[in-house]
């Protein structure tokens, strides 16, 4: 390899890592230098080998493979000489709405003006609320514009409180004392090797993983704007929260919501969620969660919170099976249903009925008071 060529290769590698960085991959100078070393070690004329080498060095998790592939194709050309990989078809039959539409919906949220809310059939079926004087008891769907600002602030405050309560309770859960042999022996030296007392050490604190699955389909429109704010605040207050939203399919929004600014975070969520306010396929979405994230996130210290009205237009059997598995693989399943707050609501819709036997806590989430009561359900163990 000539010097000139090496120089241009280095420039290209740096430019490529910049491209990756813009696409959200954490490729810094160290990765760039590793990439150069890797390229020096492989056969540069072999395109597939160059592709594999760069991927091994510059990608650190499988979720980034697709981003990397696209960037590679754009920058270096097809990763293979002969064959081209088939495009992955969208896994869901429903045509996803354009990002512009989702953004519009979110902007509406942000401005918190629900007046021109499109009235879906389902939202009309929402049972009426019982009128109450205080804001905290008011149903989210009936608030005026000025009340909304106040409410947002309250929600953030509340989420913080729930979160602190949560972590404090979780700490008291496990307190096993283990013998600390090292310190015991050392202490015994002072007494000529006689063991007079046993020193113990405390077992490490085990943290709870919280998984939030939030329904953002059309029938939930009125509620999800508040709930997402609640989730946003919760995620920022508790260290181990993973957040997903779903309507006809599931999207992970943890990274989007981690933005320090609420409005920017919501903007990012809007851009990542392809089918905001669409129909609902709860079972299918939960199945998707189980397959893609279940192994990683579920366990005996995981609390799963599902926020949905249970209006499922998908296969009820799929929902039931998914709920059963979810229940078995986690410590607790909490289902928050905004409709539950309405007087005389009974979980009659098929989806809710199928899910209920596998839910540990079924609670309302239609006003602030109900969200506040949430903290009671979060402590482990069951």
């Amino acid at each position: 390899m000539t010097v000139a060529r090496a120089g241009s290769l280095a420039a290209n590698v740096v430019a490529f890592t910049r491209l990756l960085r813009r696409r959200g991959l954490p490729a810094g100078p160290r990765e760039a230098s590793d990439a150069l070393r890797a390229l020096a070690a492989v056969d540069l004329l072999d395109r597939r080998e160059v592709y594999l080498a760069l991927r091994a060095v510059l990608v650190e998790r499988r979720e980034h493979f697709q981003e990397f592939d696209e960037a590679f194709r754009a920058f270096w050309g097809a990763p293979e000489d002969e064959e081209t990989r088939p495009e992955v078809p969208p896994s869901d039959g429903a045509a996803p709405e354009g990002p512009a539409e989702a953004e519009r919906v979110l902007r509406e949220w942000l401005q918190a003006e629900g007046e021109e809310q499109a009235e879906g059939e389902e939202s009309r079926e929402t049972p009426g609320y019982s009128p109450a004087e205080v804001l905290t008891h008011k149903d989210f769907s009936t608030l005026s514009a000025e009340e909304l600002d106040e409410l947002t602030a309250l929600i953030v405050h509340l989420a913080r409180r729930v979160a602190t309560r949560m972590s404090r309770r979780m700490r008291a859960v496990r307190r096993a004392h283990l013998l600390d042999v090292r310190r015991t022996v050392r202490r015994s030296l002072r007494r000529g090797g006689e063991i007079m007392e046993l020193l113990r050490r405390r077992r490490r604190i085990q943290k709870t993983q919280v998984v939030l699955l939030c329904d953002v389909s059309g029938s939930m429109d009125l509620y999800s704007r508040f709930l997402v704010q609640f989730i946003y605040a919760l995620q920022h207050a508790v260290s181990r929260v993973e957040t997903f939203v779903f309507s006809t399919s599931l999207t992970r929004v943890t990274p989007a919501l981690s933005d320090a600014e609420l409005s920017r975070a919501l903007d990012r969520v809007a851009r990542t969620v392809p089918n905001w306010s669409g129909g609902t396929k709860i079972g299918y979405s939960l199945r998707q969660f189980l397959d893609q994230y279940g192994r990683r996130l579920l366990g005996e210290r995981t609390v799963v919170i599902i926020i949905s009205d249970g209006w499922d237009t998908g296969d009820v059997e799929v929902l039931e099976a998914a709920m059963r598995q979810l229940n078995r693989q986690s410590a607790r399943v909490i289902w928050l249903n905004p409709l539950l707050g309405g007087a005389g609501y009974e979980p009659l819709c098929q989806g809710m009925r199928a899910a209920l036997p596998h839910v540990d806590v079924f609670a309302p989430a239609h006003n602030l008071e109900s969200l506040r009561r949430l903290e009671r359900h979060l402590a482990l163990p069951r």
Partner: protein, 316 residues
Amino acid sequence: MHPEIARIQTMLGGEGYIADREIATAIYLSMSLRKPLLIEGAAGVGKTEVAKVMARALGTDLIRLQCYEGLDATTALYEWNYQKQLLHIRLTESSDRSVEQREQEIFSESFLLRRPLLEAITRDSPPVLLVDEVDRADSEFEAFLLEVLSDFQVTIPEIGTIRARTTPYVVLTSNRTRELGDALRRRCLYLWIDYPSFEKELQIVLNKVPGINADLAAQVAAFLQMVRQAKLEKTPGIAETIDWGAALMALHRDHLDRETIEETLGVLFKSQEDARVVRTQWLDLWVRGLERLRAEARPWSQALVERVAAEGALRR
């Protein structure tokens, strides 16, 4: 292809491990860049095998650190030999040495028990260090591991700092039960191992099940391709495939029919629920799929198996 990568691929093949180019390239880079290799993938795709085979191929030792919840530095790095220490204290009781002197004696290297991490960096020739299922350890341990892997030195308060004589080849595996930290990820090269393609699995079956005929092996591999399209709690991995092949051989079966499959279902599906779902929902479809495949010309290919599976609507 770089000759060294080809050599690694052949070497792994010689050890009975069918490695595709992705795996061979990653191993090669990990060895030549001297960076730890992080391997992720579903359970049962042969992640741990990579390290074992690597050690055999390099002619060096494998040091394995199996991670679990609550694993801490004392189990992973070093521990003092307490029995020996106590004995020594007793034996020197009547000597005129001071407490300080005796303390110094029992905290010297000869009273040290080397655990895998310390062992790995104090060998004369570099071993392969396998940190297995690192996702099962706590994140505190992960941070500690990161420190050892960055500096390759260990500080023991009573003795001082022990520097690595040689840098081991490090392989980490994760089943993704917990998300690993970014810092650890960035320290490593990344390899994702997927379930094998039809061709690869066929190779594996032929290699690992002695005496199996090519036709049965192809049916087994094709069947597994269909099985992995189903949504099950525990998708069978390569180990299950090999076990199944061996079971079929032990039963002297030379082809797959419904009865044979039903008899041996327990080898593939280890959960009650999966076995039930397979019996009631899937088995008919798969058996039909196999029948349709048998009408096709051999050798079968991944594309063909996929097409047949799609025709039978084996995906739900």
